[in-house]
């Protein structure tokens, strides 16, 4: 499992590198090489590391370990076909991790990044509505059961298309340089991660790589089903490129607009889940 964990982290970082490259090419810039995020993680591992004098020391360091720990757990659950609720619970707890990253340093930039992270929690609610829709169709929230259900009834991408759209929106909200990336907007320097340098930043990069792999792989498993490994890799690259196109051509929204649009999607998803519920009940 350790080898798979390392490969998943490196692949996630590679996907983030592809994301940056695609955005740059659409905007007619050369952009960094696709392995730049892997180099970043390696580079930060050997940089000078310190804890700011104003920081809450234990929290500042501990939260990096928590970030890596929760996504390692999510990866393990995904690989063993465990409960979908655990993966999405961890996804939501990532908000708390961002909040703690931001507040622990004492920096005003980090603080506002963390506060934005909490107020944009609206982006997570469509996720749970899409989970509810999946549960209504498949009668289970265990990943292995959902995969087995799709082998009999066909992919949920077709059967529960609005739920797939909602989860795609959730993926978009977690991609850097996207319309909903208000937690690391440039007016906040790097937002919640501004003060985490050196080894702490390398840990954050590892967490981001793992998170990207877990979320994209979960999306494919949930809405397409079990695929051979190479098709999984190709599928994840295709989703990343499509997200990059959206990020490249969409300006970053203001915090108010970002939360409003996500709340509107939540409303639409609630209506969809209600229709599915009534259909199933009938």
């Amino acid at each position: 499992m350790i080898a798979e964990l390392v490969l998943a982290t490196l692949f996630g970082l590679l996907l983030l590198g592809i994301h940056r490259k695609v955005i740059a090419r659409i905007q007619r810039r050369p952009g960094p090489p696709v392995w730049q995020e892997i180099l970043h993680a390696a580079k930060f591992s050997f940089k000078t590391t310190w804890v700011p004098a104003t920081a809450s020391r234990a929290l500042f360091i501990g939260i990096v370990l928590v970030a890596i720990g929760i996504w390692t757990a999510a990866f393990f659950v995904m690989m063993t076909g465990g409960s979908l609720l655990v993966i999405f619970g961890i996804y939501m707890l990532h908000k708390i991790v961002e909040h703690a990253f931001g507040l622990s340093s004492g920096s005003p930039y980090g603080k506002f990044g963390g506060v934005r992270s909490v107020i944009s929690a609206a982006s997570e609610i469509p996720l749970f509505v899409s989970v509810a829709a999946i549960a209504l169709f498949t009668r289970s929230l265990t990943l292995s059961d959902i995969i087995a259900w799709q082998q009999v009834h066909g992919p949920l991408l077709i059967i529960a298309f609005p739920a797939a759209i909602a989860m795609y929106l959730v993926l978009l909200s977690k991609m850097p340089f996207g319309p909903f990336s208000i937690v690391e907007a440039k007016e906040l320097v790097s937002g919640y991660k501004t003060e985490h340098f050196g080894v702490w930043r390398a840990g954050l990069e590892v967490c981001n790589g793992l998170k990207t792999t877990v979320l994209l792989a979960t999306f494919l498993l949930l809405f397409v089903g079990q695929l051979p490994i190479w098709w999984m890799v190709i599928g994840m690259v295709i989703i990343t490129v499509s997200l990059s196109f959206t990020c490249a051509i969409t300006p970053m929204l203001s915090p108010f607009d970002s939360v409003t649009i996500q709340s509107l999607f939540t409303g639409l998803m609630l209506v969809y889940a209600g229709i599915v519920f009534l259909g199933v009940a009938a």
Partner: protein, 218 residues
């Protein structure tokens, strides 16, 4: 239960009360535990404020008495969250949720800032009001199914839980600590004392994650 939060690893019975650990509840429990330990070990950060229109900046200090009180409240909040994560009883869940709401108010009400105290006061009113649907939900669960045990509800042998009971439970939880009543209170989340403020947002989120599982039972 096995199709929602995974197959239970262990069920601990205290008479008719019980605690159970599924992969889902144990994940949430461990997170509450880790953050409670972080609260115990951490000292608050010194928030930096930049003076508008100049190069000057100031740092905020938290006094020892204030720190002790907020740390106590945060630990109590962590313990209540841990209880809510693993309990297998609907009434105990509502009780722990109400306790989380009270401790959340305590964590921020000790901050010596009128903006933060105003936010805490308003949140306190909402949290108090939310206890009515919260405990009302437990009463409807008991009246309609004859049991408050989540294990019994998960077996599917009891009468179906009315939608109104589930709706009241969700409304109660939302009122105790979720958006829009709470997360929108940015004044509370940007108060100094990171380890304690984090416990506010963490406990609210954990309770929300648990209620998602609870309403799917029965």
């Amino acid at each position: 239960m096995s199709s929602i939060g995974g197959v239970p690893f262990y069920i601990l019975e205290f008479g008719d009360e019980l605690v159970y650990f599924t992969p889902y509840t144990i994940t949430l429990f461990l997170l509450a535990l880790v953050f409670t330990v972080l609260v115990i070990l951490s000292r608050p950060e010194r928030q930096v404020d930049i003076a508008f229109g100049g190069d000057a900046y100031t740092t905020k200090q938290i006094l020892k008495d204030e720190m002790r009180f907020r740390r106590f409240m945060s630990i109590a909040c962590g313990l209540a969250s841990m209880g809510a994560m693993v309990t297998g009883d609907i009434f105990n869940f509502t009780l722990f949720t109400a306790m989380v709401g009270i401790t959340n108010v305590g964590i921020v009400a000790a901050v010596k800032s009128p903006h933060v105290q105003n936010a805490a006061y308003q949140y306190g009113l909402v949290a108090l009001s939310a206890t009515v649907p919260l405990f009302g939900a437990a009463a409807v669960y008991a009246a309609s199914t004859g049991s408050l045990s989540m294990i019994e509800l998960a077996r599917g042998t009891l009468p179906a839980v009315p939608i109104i009971a589930k709706a009241l439970l969700v409304i109660g939880v939302v009122g105790e600590g979720m958006a829009p009543f709470y997360a929108a209170k940015a004044e509370m989340f940007r108060a100094p004392g990171a380890p304690y403020v984090i416990m506010c947002s963490l406990s609210s989120l954990l309770i929300f994650l648990r209620v998602v599982e609870v309403v799917m039972l029965g």
